[in-house]
Symmetry: C2
Subunit: 433 residues, 2 copies
């Protein structure tokens, strides 16, 4: 009966789109994932490997022998091979490269030579090129002879005999214009182009801004070498937002939800360890004021409020700034203005919420002085939170790091130690005198 079910399952899997099979594999724990993977027809392995996330892909590749991997990779384009190559065993890659023709091998090499955040790593080679001195009728006949067009072909690339890009012919224009017209009369001669060493995220912003579907990539001599398409850009946008969220919490990018406990630990340790050090530092700050706390135990109860609100408010500021930086809205011209605004918000929040909690502290511990210290400490810690909330992501960016990198742990470290120091310091000075 079990075998019958498997056969039925296999039949259903083979009817599904590769992306849907990938989605099923993503949502399954390790053993079940491999069971399903073995049911998938060998000729679909390649398509599915290209759809799954890196973390899941690794588990699937580890389950395949060299022969299966070679078979799966044989069907792929140069850009797809380049995507997969870094995760394949070395000898499989070697054998694959041997089997390619010169142009293909050159393309794979070139794609592999770029960082994953450069346009060159994202481009594909599914370009349809035409000459500018022919009529649209000739272009239409040429396309018919191709039998198939690459995905996301919304424009044809017009090149000269040296392969230099002269313009693009949007399919829309090809369709609505008189077939007698020349390509050069109809083409757009000043299209948006990219260079392979440009930042991929900036290319993604251009795609969003100008609503592009595909766009040519040219080298520094203007020679057409590839194209970007919106499907890769959408994946990039998705990944970018993912890593922003994860970085903020001090997580690395790759942990599928069914990763082993060991893998998860590795993913989370770095920032937890840093957090431990900062928490210990905050603890030592408190240790400095042991006498004050022994004399007025209310301080121990109130100090986490000062630290906690500071952390929360600092996280809000840092989130706003990281956002604005991701959207390219922050220049050196407006930093000061922004800092002033954040400090203003913190000042008002500190006076109002600090005031509320100050009155509560006064009534609760019957000391207006304690209440006043509370208001002052909360306001000062919120100002510190605003200041560091602007400074931390900007400094990280200046150092060439991701501005969201562990931002939450860092701001909390500052508002904890700072909050304790400010509150206990003020209390010692004004209440213990």
């Amino acid at each position: 009966v079990h075998r019958q079910n498997l056969a039925e399952l296999q039949r259903k899997l083979n009817e599904l789109h590769p992306a849907d099979v990938a989605r099923i594999l993503e949502a399954l724990p390790f053993e079940e994932r491999l069971t399903i993977w073995q049911l998938v027809k060998a000729e679909r392995d390649g398509d599915i490997l290209l759809e799954v996330s890196d973390a899941v892909r690794e588990t699937l590749i580890a389950d395949m022998d060299d022969h299966e991997l070679l078979a799966a990779a044989k069907e792929m384009n140069a850009d797809e091979l380049a995507d997969l190559a870094p995760e394949l065993p070395r000898d499989v890659v070697h054998e694959l490269m041997e089997s390619l023709d010169g142009q293909q091998r050159e393309r794979v090499r070139s794609a592999l030579s770029y960082d994953s955040d450069q346009v060159g790593a994202l481009m594909n080679f599914g370009m349809v090129t035409i000459r500018e001195d022919v009529s649209l009728e000739v272009v239409l006949r040429y396309l018919r002879r191709l039998k198939e067009l690459p995905g996301h072909t919304d424009k044809l690339f017009v090149v000269d005999y040296d392969g230099v890009l002269k313009g693009v012919l949007p399919i829309k224009r090809l369709l609505v214009n008189d077939p007698e017209k020349q390509v050069s009369d109809v083409m757009a001669s000043d299209p948006v182009t990219f260079h392979p060493d440009e930042d991929a995220y900036e290319a993604a912003q251009a795609f969003e801004r100008y609503d592009l579907v595909s766009s040519p990539v040219v080298d520094k001599n203007g020679k057409l070498i590839g194209r970007l398409t919106i499907d890769e850009i959408v994946d990039l946008i998705r990944e970018e937002s993912e890593s922003e969220v994860l970085n903020m919490a001090g997580l690395r990018e790759e942990e599928d939800i069914f990763a082993s406990v060991w893998r998860s630990l590795r993913n989370r340790w770095a920032w937890l360890a840093i957090n431990l050090v900062t928490a210990f530092a905050a603890s030592r700050v408190i240790g400095l004021f042991g006498d004050a706390i022994e004399r007025l135990v209310a301080l121990a109860a109130l100090m986490p409020i000062v630290a906690g609100i500071g952390g929360n408010s600092g996280n809000q500021t840092i989130t706003m700034i990281v956002r604005a930086m991701a959207l390219d809205q922050l220049g050196s011209g407006n930093t000061l203005r922004l800092l002033r605004k954040e400090l203003g918000v913190s000042l008002i929040n500190g006076l109002i919420w600090g005031g509320v909690i100050g009155v509560v502290a006064w009534l609760l511990y019957d000391s207006w002085k304690l209440g006043a210290v509370m208001v002052a400490a909360m306001t000062l810690n919120l100002l510190l939170a605003a200041f560091m909330g602007v400074l931390i992501p900007m400094t990280l960016a200046k150092l060439g790091k991701d501005p969201a990198m562990g931002a939450s742990v860092m701001i909390t470290a500052v508002t904890d130690s700072g909050g304790f120091l400010i509150f206990l310091g003020l209390a010692t000075f004004f209440l213990m005198g």
Copy 2:
């Protein structure tokens, strides 16, 4: 000289793409923004209004009189009008609706009747429809007569005489097939379609999964009523990731970085107030153990470590879960498994990092018992963090809320109060005996 500069600036602005003007407006503080806005040619107002974010759009609309608004809106399509209408003064909307023909008015009404997270609010009406019983040659001639095709037309929609969708004809197939062939022989008869009341985020996932550029929207009788295009989907994906990051920090969606202090305060108050209440609760927990702290002031110094690490670890868990939920990887089938994994990670983290800090506490305060309490408290609080980190987003989702909504404030509330209670409780029991 100033006037000359403005004229120069105006000339440059009018050469820019509307999206670029929008980007400039976004990055400018309020007064400068309005100065630039007044320099923009009136006939470009509409295009630019459609490109800016909601928060900035509001400031621009507030600066325009009814006459200018009407002029800007006159150039728009039905779907663009529907995007803008909720922010326009009521009498302007009324006058606009009057000026539309029957079909257009119906389309605006229909688009306005959907929630912003439904497919119906996202669709546009730039559809090119054809019949299935004509040849490709006829289709090509028909397109030529249209003079212009709507943006993102990668497929034509094949409908019958009642407007029911029979299939789609990808432009790619139109171009490579013999013009003598019939549409019905070449079209894809089982395309991906959407319903107007479907969840827009699910449509976005389908666009990503199947690499779509455009897709028909049909009503429950299969009648074609509009289409979705990738440009709107990209905007949606961007907004979704934005609101996830902001929600996590307890921020509402709309605050452009130059929003006034007052506006920023409103955006941030709700969760700060909640945080104040939870911080006060944590403070009362500490208050319960005043005697213990008076007798052993080391407790006051160590307790924030327990709470802090718990908060950090809980935030990591919650971030993972929110991510997995956004990517649809969490079903009821694997919740338990996931919970077990998170608890496992926390147990090991607790024993190891708790052990480290326990040894430090032992050496520092010369009490192995205090060290042991520290290890136990950290482990228990990390387990609590893992448990609540899974439970909070899942409960929010079950209640129909955004699972990221203030997640950070909530998990910190639990790990603070819980951490203090566990640590001080254990210390009272084992050290004060």
